[in-house]
């Protein structure tokens, strides 16, 4: 893994939104533009963050405050932004993100980077809705540059279709909504209210369900907890002390929202957590 190409970040901000009748990159959440927010989120995970723009956008004030990569090929669209980044630094990999993903979290990026396969052309999430690859929250490896050039030379432009038939490492989503994008004013309103609803910054409502030995030791089948635990691991420490659980965390697995999860996954308010003691079916 130490030999894998360095990862740079690329925020795609070249598109014009027809449905929003607005520049999507400029949409604001909690006082911050969507573009700034995306750059800030990606920054800790990559060597440096660039913004992908068309040539006629280089003087736009919102964009000009960031390092830019200008479309270097004809045709437009995300494929040109990705190709331009790969061409600008042919030995690097690129964590490519659409800028209109307001629900994206650190945990989602971290999970993708951990799952990365540098031998694939790209590492991408599967859509939680249709299972197809999500090219605009994906790590594109150096070798993809030439393959994308061939793809475009054949008259094609859809990076999702590209990933379906090329060698990509696909990663199951950890959160069904993380990659929801914003295409209508209604979706924008919903996303704003989700992001801007005040809550104590470190406190969340988590539901915990208990089974078998855990249920007996907790003395209940479930409970709601106001907690500052950022991960299931922290949550287990907190509840273990309260309920005197006998099983060490190493003997358990954990599920969040009905799926097995990492102990280090970021918890969000409303998550349902289940601690799974050693199983004994059959």
């Amino acid at each position: 893994m130490s030999a894998a190409p360095t990862v740079y970040g690329l925020i795609l901000a070249g598109g014009a939104s027809t449905r929003m009748r607005h520049d999507k990159a400029a949409l604001r959440y909690g006082g911050e533009s969507q573009l700034d927010r995306a750059c800030r989120l990606v920054k800790p995970h990559v060597a440096e963050v660039f913004v992908s723009v068309r040539a006629d956008q280089v003087n736009d004030p919102l964009r000009a405050s960031h390092p830019l990569i200008v479309d270097a090929f004809a045709g437009g669209g995300p494929i040109v932004g990705i190709r331009s980044a790969l061409a600008s630094s042919p030995a690097s990999a690129w964590l490519v993100l659409a800028c209109d993903l307001p629900l994206l979290t650190d945990a989602v990026l971290e999970h993708l980077l951990r799952a990365r396969d540098p031998a694939a052309l790209a590492t991408a999430y599967c859509s939680a809705y249709d299972g197809l690859p999500e090219p605009l929250c994906a790590i594109w490896e150096p070798a993809a540059g030439e393959a994308l050039a061939r793809w475009q030379s054949e008259g094609r432009s859809c990076p999702r279709k590209f990933l379906r038939i090329h060698h990509a490492k696909l990663v199951d989503p950890v959160d069904a909504h993380a990659l929801d994008n914003i295409n209508t004013p209604e979706e924008y309103a919903t996303a704003r209210s989700t992001l801007e609803t005040p809550s104590a910054p470190e406190s969340m409502q988590i539901k915990i369900q208990y089974y078998a030995l855990m249920r007996e030791q907790a003395g209940r089948s479930d409970e709601m907890l106001e907690t500052a635990a950022a991960t299931p691991a922290e949550l287990y420490r907190e509840l273990g002390e309260r309920h005197r659980f006998t099983l060490p965390r190493e003997r358990l697995k954990v599920a969040v929202n009905g799926e097995f999860s990492d102990w280090s996954r970021g918890l969000r308010s409303g998550d349902v957590v289940v601690f799974i003691p050693p199983v004994a079916g059959g």
Partner: protein, 160 residues
């Protein structure tokens, strides 16, 4: 046909087997887990199964679907009983039909092994001496250096 399901009433093995029929299948292998009258030296009089049903069905379906991809078989299915069972009762059934018997044996064994290790189902045994306990949990938890502790945590590790 359901790949994996739970039932709180006796498993209908005749009906479940019928669903695996395929004119191209020459071999059928089934596994049944029966409630034994003893476990680890203690006389057992009955037990209870409990599951995290939502996730257990997903994980059980993944196991059976995965077996159908890995092995050249025609059909496979697993049914697990929940609730209170007595000695001799059928706790779990796995059936596999295939063109050739070797793959049916391999796939059937793979499925039951994975189900036992990965699917969130728990078993509480009631002993003739009046005690009871959650299998793989309590004695290991209270005696972490018991040899079984390693075995179980190893098994758990496989499925992470």
């Amino acid at each position: 046909m359901k790949l994996f399901s739970f039932t709180t009433t006796p498993i209908d093995t005749v009906g479940a087997r019928r669903e695996l029929f395929d004119g191209a299948a020459g071999g059928y292998v089934s596994f049944e887990g029966w409630v034994r009258n003893h476990n680890e030296g203690l006389a057992v009089q009955g037990l209870e199964y409990e599951a995290f049903v939502e996730l257990a069905i997903k994980e059980g379906e993944r196991i059976v679907a995965d077996a159908m991809r890995r092995f050249p078989i025609k059909a496979a299915s697993c049914v697990h009983r929940l609730g209170a069972l007595g000695v001799g009762d059928l706790a779990v059934w796995v059936g596999v039909s295939a063109e050739h018997r070797g793959e049916a044996f391999d796939a059937c064994r793979h499925i039951i092994d994975e189900v036992k290790h990965r699917v969130p189902i728990w078993k509480k045994e009631h002993y003739l001496n009046g005690d009871s306990g959650w299998v793989n949990c309590e004695r290991c938890a209270s005696a972490p250096h018991h040899p079984h502790a390693h075995e179980h945590s190893g098994a758990h590790g496989v499925s992470d």
